[in-house]
Each structure stands twice: as C-alpha cells, then as structure tokens.
Symmetry: D2
Subunit: 353 residues, 4 copies
C-alpha cells in the first residue's frame, strides 16, 4: 500500500516494450536518431501547434530548470507559488541553471496561485536597479497539492503576467492528470491560455525517466539546445528518451494512465471522507488526496502497512486549520495503483477509526 509518490513504480508495459524495441540496431548518437527527430511532429500534433520545439530530458528538475534558464536572466525574478516544487524540492536547480536568478513566492490555497496576489506582487515591485526585475511566472499544473487550473484560470494568470512583461512557464510534471481531469485539449491549458514554455512530465505517469521541454515561442528556444548539452542532459543514446515519449503519447496512453490514477484518487477520497473524523483539506482534482486525519488514524494506517507522507499546513485555505490531534497527509495514486490497494487502505481506515 505505497501511496508515497507516483515515482515509486517502474515503467508501464507499453513504455517498457517500446524501450526494448528501440534498443536494436545502430542509430546516430546525441539525439540525431530518427526516433528523436520524429518527436517534434508528434508533439506538434498533440499540442496543435505548428512551430513548437521539443527537448527531451531525463528528469523533471532538468526540464523545469532549463526552461527557466531560457526565460529568466541571471539578475531576474521568477514568481511562483511558495509551495511550488521548483522552489521547495529541487535543491536550488532553478538558481543553478539561471545563474542566480531568484524565485519570489506567491500565496494561494492548495499550492494554486491566487490571481489577486500575483497582481498585487507585480504592482508592488519597484523598477529600480536595487531590486531584481520580474521576468517570468511559473505555474504548476496540477499544483503541488493536486489542484488544477482550468483554461480560464491559466489565461487569467498569464494575462496578468504578460501585462507586466513576464513570460509564462508551466511545470507540467502532472499535466496528464490535469488534462484528464479537465477533459480539455492539451493546447487549451497551455499555449492557447498563454503558456510560453511547458515542462511536459512523463516519469510520474508511466515512463521510467522521460520529460520534455516544450517551447511554444520559437525565440525562447534558441538557447535551450546549448544549455541542455552544457548541463549534461543531452543523452548520447537519444532513443532512450524518445522511445518512452512516443509510447507515452501513442493511443492516448498518457491520458489513460492519468485517468486511472485520477479515478483511484477519487475513490480514495470518497472512501476516506466517509470515515469518522476525516475531512479533506481541499478537493481532489488530480491524483493526490490531502486528508486531515486524526493522529491515531494515521498511526493505524501506517501500522497496517500504508506508506504516505505528512504534509505542511501552509497550503490550507484561510480559516481551515489542523487540530492538535490531527495531521495533514498526502496520498498519491499512480497509473499502476491497483483498485484493490485503495480498497485495502479504506478498509484499514475504517478499522482504525
């Protein structure tokens, strides 16, 4: 009963198969192979964008940090939510790749940026050489706490950003979960809503290690190829990443995987809400569930073999709070989570309550 992360699994069967298939034969090194070459057309199709550029990399940290390095000069600010993965969990990767740019923090329930707070922060920024000027906004879709931005929400934030001259980055480590939840086209919550550069995640949703930087504004793409090589993120055997990404997109495998994970998160949430003393900190909109549990119940679940993390309470909605005998936790479902495992956890919860 491992609900700790969507990174604890291996690759999905179709993706593993694709890897094995792609292993045979000689292919040019360093991304000049035919599998990598055909990725561009594939992504242009999926995102309905005739000019986008794609740069596969092996990790989400690399995708985010390379994207931001192309968007923010060393002396610039990038605004993001105070709980965004880029600022809390990447050991300063954006600071490294941008050569010392700074992440400025915005508030918002469930790690989703509040548009009013963004507007206020940008209005407050003085234009002076003593302060670093804002250059980009980074959104996480889904948010670090499993909330989703609808197309209009993305457009609203992007609109504010653009009026202040910022470019817009989307950390899409869980983009698939958001697209599956919203039932929208990928274009709608990305470039059509004002996103300039997307970190397109696959590793959390079926790949072994594959992400893609998707650049919707050709002028921002210029430096990424050099920066990627220089950062050691151009794999010599490009087929490794390309094969995974092709299989991920084929036959909507990515959306099927995400739908499964989302559905199980719903099932988990529904079941937990029915347990006495349990409430959700905020709604489930992707594949993550954030219940506030009696401490005793959390202990019971862990004793019964369930694995999950405690979660900081800073993302709570105004007015919401966690009592002395309670704890906020995070449960994540993945493409590979069996329904039976969810049901086992729920049974355990009912027993421990």
């Amino acid at each position: 009963m491992n609900f700790a992360s969507d990174n604890v699994t291996g690759a999905s069967a179709p993706i593993l198969d694709a890897l094995v298939q792609a292993n045979a034969g000689a292919m040019p090194a360093y991304g000049e192979d035919p599998l990598t070459a055909s990725l561009t057309a594939r992504f242009r199709e999926v995102f309905e964008h005739p000019e986008l550029a794609v740069y596969p990399v092996a990790t989400g940290t690399a995708a985010n940090a390379l994207a931001l390095a192309a968007m923010v000069p060393p002396y610039g600010l990038c605004l993001c939510h105070a709980q965004a993965h880029v600022t809390t969990d990447e050991c300063g990767a954006p600071e490294f790749f941008t050569h010392g740019a700074k992440l400025a923090h915005l508030p918002g329930t469930g790690a989703r940026i509040d548009p009013g707070a963004l507007e206020a922060a940008l209005a407050r920024l003085p234009r002076s050489v003593h302060r670093m000027p804002a250059h980009a906004l980074s959104l996480s879709q889904a948010s670090e706490a499993g909330l989703v931005y609808a197309p209009e929400a993305v457009a609203r934030l992007s609109g504010i950003a653009r009026r202040h001259g910022l470019t817009v980055h989307m950390d899409g480590a869980r983009l698939a979960n958001a697209v599956a939840r919203l039932g929208c086209r990928p274009a709608e919550i990305t470039w059509r809503a004002g996103v300039d550069v997307l970190s397109f995640g696959a590793s959390k949703n079926g790949a072994l290690a594959a992400e893609a930087i998707v650049v919707f504004r050709p002028d921002l793409a210029d430096s990424i190829a050099y920066r990627r090589k220089r950062a050691g993120h151009l794999l010599s055997k490009g087929r490794l990443l390309a094969a995974q990404l092709h299989a991920y997109l084929a036959d909507d495998h990515w959306l099927a995987n995400a739908s499964h994970a989302n559905r199980l998160a719903d099932r988990l949430a529904r079941g937990l809400r029915a347990v006495a003393g349990v409430r959700l900190a905020w709604p489930v909109e992707a594949n993550e569930v954030f219940p506030i549990l009696p401490v005793r119940l959390a202990r019971g679940l862990r004793a019964g073999g369930a694995v999950f993390y405690d979660w900081p309470t800073e993302s709570l909605a105004p007015g919401e709070s966690v009592g002395e005998d309670e704890v906020l936790v995070r449960l994540i479902t993945a493409f590979s989570t069996p329904e039976a495992e969810v049901d086992a956890l729920l049974a355990l919860a009912r027993d421990s309550a």
Copy 2:
C-alpha cells in the same frame, strides 16, 4: 558499417534484461531504492577500496562536470589535454558546473598528456591573484585518441599534480577498454595510481545511459549529492541507472564487452596497415583506430557505406604529418560490432586502394 562512435548502439542483452527485471514493483524514489543502495558495496569490491562513494548519473558529461565541480573552485584552473573531451565536446559543461573555472590545455601525442609539459606548465604558473590558481588535473583513460596510460604513467602524472597541490580526476568514459587492454586491476590505474575522482563510463560499452562518479577521497564527496540533485541528475527512478550498472559489472560483463571492442580494433588496424598507402597515426591501445588514408580511399570507403569521422591533425606526433592527398580519420569499434563488419570494411579498403 557504422564506425562513427561507440554510442550508436543500444544496450547489451544482459543490461537490457536487467532493466526489464528491475522495472517491476514499487521502490522508493530518488535513489533510496535497494538497487542503488547496493551499488556502493559493489563498486568498493570492484575497486578494492573500502571507503569510495558512488554517484550514478545518466551521461558522461554530467559525470565529468560534477566531478570537476567538486574539485575546482569557481576561480580555479583545471589542467587537461588540449583535445580532451571535457574541453572540446561538452559545450562548456565544466565551466557551467564549476561556475566559471577554466580549463588550461596541455600538449601530447594522441591526446595523452606529456608529463614534461605538465611539469613545465605548473612550474610556469605564477602565484598571484591576477591568475587563476591550478586546482586539478584531468586525465582521460583511454585518451580521446585511444591511447592508454599504464599504471606508472598515471602515477607519474598524479605525482606531479600532487606536488603542486592539485587533485586528480580521471575521465573514464572508456575505462573498461583501458583496463581490458592493460590487463590490470581497476584499482591499479585509478586510486592506487593517485586518482581522486573517476568518471566511470558504461554508456559507450553496453549500457543505454549510465555512468558513475566514483569518489576515492571521502572529503571530496561532500558536495556531490547536492550538486547532482541541483543539476537535475538525481533520477526519480534510481533503479534505471542502478540496474544497468549492476549488470555492467556482473560477471565481468564490462571487461568482456571492452575486450571484444579492443580485439576488433586490433583486427581493423592490422588489416588497414596491410592496405597500400595506409598508416596509423599512433598505435591502437583501446577500441579506436586512427589511420591516415589516401583521400581517394576514404572516399571509396564512404561510398561503400562505411560511416566514420575525419579527425583533427593536432594530435599527431612531432614529425608526423598528413599529406595533401591524405586524411586522418577515426574508426571506433564497440562491444556490439560484428567481426564480419570489420572484415567487410577491410575488403572494401582493399578494393578501393
């Protein structure tokens, strides 16, 4: 007949099998999995060193640049051969990871550093704040031009470096080929000969994407874990790299692969030398052959389907030169090169001569 690089192949069968095996089941993310955990013991065994630390990464560029970042401060110099991969082919990765350190170039035939030149360069360096102080020496084993340093040669260079207060890095992208050629123990040409940090390569010799930074001096290891995460080189699914490295080391698979490649390089060299008008720029000591060919012959080989690169003539021995009608080229054999392919190339050469 692809002799362009040892990167044009996929993974060897045992390594691919290991990948598929390791795919099943839940494992902790970010290198906390049991496969990764057991790598340290495995490398300590192979290198007969009780305290070494191992950091797997996906690319040789990352291994080299992270190693150098731990060894050279932003204001320091790293000495290396003028044709070393770190300085010619990594788009400034060492400069990026070290935050602006400089690579200073040393001469030597076949991209192997001349000890006298190293001694002279270090003697010449003034100690003054106007110049960047030398902090490390980087050797490539085998060299970028396929020459090997015997244990005494490594020890001699390391000795000079140490007397001037430098630490010693070895770029072992083709370490297996060197070990197989020399018939020595891995320890003998690394830490016992004075190497502090090793980039241990596997991708060119059977892995799909796997290298390891091997740190023989515990005090130098301190920063690498943070630097690796920050550079986006800590994979979320650590099993990908660990499974490859375990299979690579198991049953001396790495040495068997390298021996095959070396043997075919010898066969290729022997055959080419017998062709009229062909001579070798320097001996074959690993899996790379550098013949000087009549231009007409090179053209004939390519017309016949052989793939290989021209090579710059700066690495030639003093006195050696390439005539107007000649060209220096590089032919690489890999663990997967069929003997028949070498023989086909040789037949073609004899026909084209």
Copy 3:
C-alpha cells in the same frame, strides 16, 4: 533638509585630506602599496584580534557579497532577516557572488532577527538533497531599521547558528553607529560574540567609497583574494581605499562621526515624539528614526523641503499598525548633518501638525 540617506554626503574633511595626501608619488599597484599593507595591523589593533585578514573594497554590496561567497557554497542557504539589505536592496548580489545560493528569510521587529524564529527555522530544515542546506547566518549591525544587537544578542544568535554548523556574517554598514551607541569595544559585538566575517562599513559614515571585509577565521579568508580580483574589486590604485580607511580609524574619527549622527537621531526622535499624532515605530538605537506620521504631516514636511523615504510596514512589532491616515517613514542622520537642520525639520513638523 536631506534625511533620505547617509549616502548623500561626500567624504568628511579628515578623510578627504588623507586622500589628497596619499595621492602623491609612485606606489606599487593592486594593493601592494605600503598604505594597504599597513591596514592589517591597524584592523588587528582596533579589533584586538591577532590573525584577522582585511580586504578593502569600494562598496558595501561587494563587501557583503564577497563575504557570503566565501561562507556559502553555491548549493547552500544563508539565513537573514526578511528586510536585510543583502536580500532586499542589492539586486541579487549574494546570489551572483555565491553562484546561486539562496537567502532564507527570518522575521523580527525592526529588521532584527528573532532568536526563537532562527531556532525554529533551523530545527525545521530537513537534511535532504532536495533542499539546500543552511551554511551561514547574516546579521545586520545596526539593523536595516536602525536597531542594535547588544553583545549578548549577537552571541545568542551566533550560538544557535554554530550549534547547527553555520558560520556567522555581520553586515556592518552601520557598525560604527552600533559601537558608538553600545559603548562597547568593536571586538565585543563581532568575533568575541561569534562573528566569523564582518563587512565593515565606512562609506555611510565619512568615507567617499571604502568598506572592508574583515575575516576573523583565517580558513575562510583563503578564497577572498581571488574572488575579489575576479569580481573587479581589486583597485589598481590601492591607496584610494587604504587612505580612507586609515583616516576613518585614526583618532576614533569613525566613532566621533557615528556619535554625532546618533545624537542627532535622538534629538530628532525626541522632537518628533513631542509633535501631536506622531509616534515611533520602534526605538532609535542608531542613526535612523522611523516615525509613524499623519499623512498630512508627512506631506507638510515634504512641502517644506524635507527629503525622506516612506518605509514598508512589514517590520512593525506584532500588535503595532499604521492607520489609514498615517504613514511610516524613515529619517536618517549622518556624520555631516547640522543640528540646525534637525531643528528646522522639527519646527516644520510642529507647524504642519
């Protein structure tokens, strides 16, 4: 009536004289001149520390950022107050010089760090490669809002920092004002209280452009000479900085200047408090006064020719607040402020009230 900053004046007469004197004759360049050479002995005397090292630079930004670069690795955290100059007013200089380290913010009234908050922040920091590890604490003496740390207060914060393995930096842009106010020996609030590296300010208190990085821990000094040269902060004519610093320290000129500024700040505070509707946001402990004024009064002062800045209200004590019709402002006195100018401002205030 310029109370905008202690940077609006030129040099004091003794310092200007020293500059003119030092101009004559040939001296070795790049800090090898006798004036620079004798600075070390002078600072060792003033700080009663037999081993300190001194690096003169022209700006406080350079002093702070070079000091932090020697103390914090690129992947490390430096803790400081959320309103500290290093994090709000230097356009990311620490991020630039440290190559991407991060400043983490602590709260506290009047820009003075609350020890409990420091303790809590350090206790909360997880030891994980996903987070940047804390390496240094930076204190401002006097604080950005003119509060002073007594020797015991410095020692308490340093003690917490050390227990967590951090080194301690002091931004002493207004150290003279603090020493003059506390009536203590310079050693007492610096190295004897646990400070490892000090940015010793002179430009705000009589110099034209001169600061010194004072390193009390020899092992931390190693890299500063190279970093300073590399940052363009080693002046070719070292006499410029050295002459100012010698004159600054001679005959306690620095303390006389600071005492004057402090005394006038007291006079200003006393006078303002007597004006109806005016209160101080926090006590005056150096040369800065932070009154909360009726908006109408602030307008009147400016109409009458007084120059000063509004100040953000984030530094207010818990429970304190600024009303709708009020504004928090900052008034600074300098070594050169005439008493008559203070009195003129007070008369204007009484007239405008």
Copy 4:
C-alpha cells in the same frame, strides 16, 4: 625610475581638484546625482554618438567583464588575443561575470590580433551543440603590448566578426594613448569602425579609479545597469567616479596626458635603440616600450634603481627571437613620468652597456 606600470601614480592635479570640488554638499546616492547624470551628454559629445549609454565603474576589470557579460551568453565564446589582459590578468573575471563563457585565443605579433587568424578560427568553428558558439570578439586598443589598431584595422576585424554574427568589444584601458598616437577622432576607432561596446579607461592615464562602459548599441545596454548593481559596482556616492571622468575629458586633459606618456615612450625607445646590443621587439605605438636587452644590461638597470617587468616572449613576431643572453622587458611611461626620469634611465643604460 618606476617604469613598471601606468598604475603606480596617483591622480593628475586636475582630476584630484575635481574630486575635492565634488565632495561638497548633499547629492542623491547611487548615481542619481547631477554629475553622473551629465556624463551621458558629455560622452555623446566626445564620441559623436547620439544614443550611447555610459556606465561608470571603478576598475578596468569590472568594465571589461560587465561589457562581456552583456554580449556573451553563459554558453558562448568570446575570441580575443592569447595575451589579452581579459584572459591573462583578470583571474577569470569574464568567466565569472558571463557565468562560464569561454575565451578562445587568437595569435598575432605584439598582442595584436591577426585578421587571417580570426577569419580562420571562425571558419573552423563547427555549428554543433557540442561546441560553444562564438558570440563576441574582444580587441585591446592599445594592445597589451602597446601596438595600436588603425581605424581600418579595427574595421577589418569588426567586419569579419559581424559576418559571423559576433558583436565587438574594445578593451580601451589605454584608448587615450591610441587616440593620441593615431591623431584620430575617438569615434573613428570605436563605433564608426564597428565597435559595439567600449571599456573606456581613465585610471592608467590620470584618474585615481575611474573607467566607463560605453555602449554604442542601445539593445546591448539593457542588462548592464542590473549587472553592475548586482556586481557591487554601483557606487553609493556616484560623484566619486563622475567627477573624475568629467575632469578627464575636460579640455582634452585625457589626450594631453596620453600624448605626454607617448612622447616619453618614443624618447625612451629612441634612446634605448641607440644603446649597443639593444633592439625593440616591435615598434612603440602607445606608451609601452618592449626592448630586448642583454641580460647584463637589464641587471645593470635594476641595480641602478630602474623598476620594470620581464615580458613573455610569446608575442614576438615570427622569425624574431630572444637569445640566451637576452631578455624581453616592458617599460611603461605615464602621464606623470618626468622627462628627466627617462633621461636618467637612458644614461644608466649607456653606462651599463
């Protein structure tokens, strides 16, 4: 008899006077003072360029490195002469300010870039992500060895650079000496000949510490204000730099100073050439003399109190060489060198020969 450097003197009388004058009264801090504000108009006049931007800084290292940071991305190459000051004597300042860009070296007698070598180097650079792409050319006017580029020579090099998409930087630490020697207008050897950004030196020719970054292409100026602040090179009391630069330009003081230094260099060269066994390594075109002396003579000069440096022989013209009993040395004259001192050295030389 100090001929070691043009940095061994203080400020010239008019510049020192200007400093003293500018010291009085309150002025806005951080370059918002009227003296700094009027610098732009002054430089536009002197350089006959209606749109140039000026950024004063205290050191030539800062001027060069900030200029290059605005011109070369972190992954880019800057081409310069192998003996250029930026690459040999600034402890890696360009690498620091550009965040890891690389300086690629060009040959040429007397540290003056050979146009053929530039053309060849640019033609040879492969366009590949494995190599850093060339972004800028840096020329030194006068060269590190005292040679001057005539307007056509600058234009020729700039033309080659531009055809390859590079921008052009001029290190004008001794621009005054070049302008005085060539008798041309400052515009002719700078922007009219294709220079985009100029490091305009004053410290070696009469100022105490003052240089200016002069940007002829407005689009390249965007980032310099932020980079300068971030690097600690925005002085709080801007009058210090502005006063020096105004006095430097007033009444052609800069050219008068340079003409004096040049004239004395000529006198020195003429006198030395007449001494038996002495020849010049290359002509005197600015204020530096590079004689090849019998070792015995060099020793005699030093014994007699003359101060000067030995010089590396790498800049010698092809075919030229320094014999076993000879040494190449550098003698520099400054705005303040008395004619009598030159004559004393010559007398000493004649006595020692």
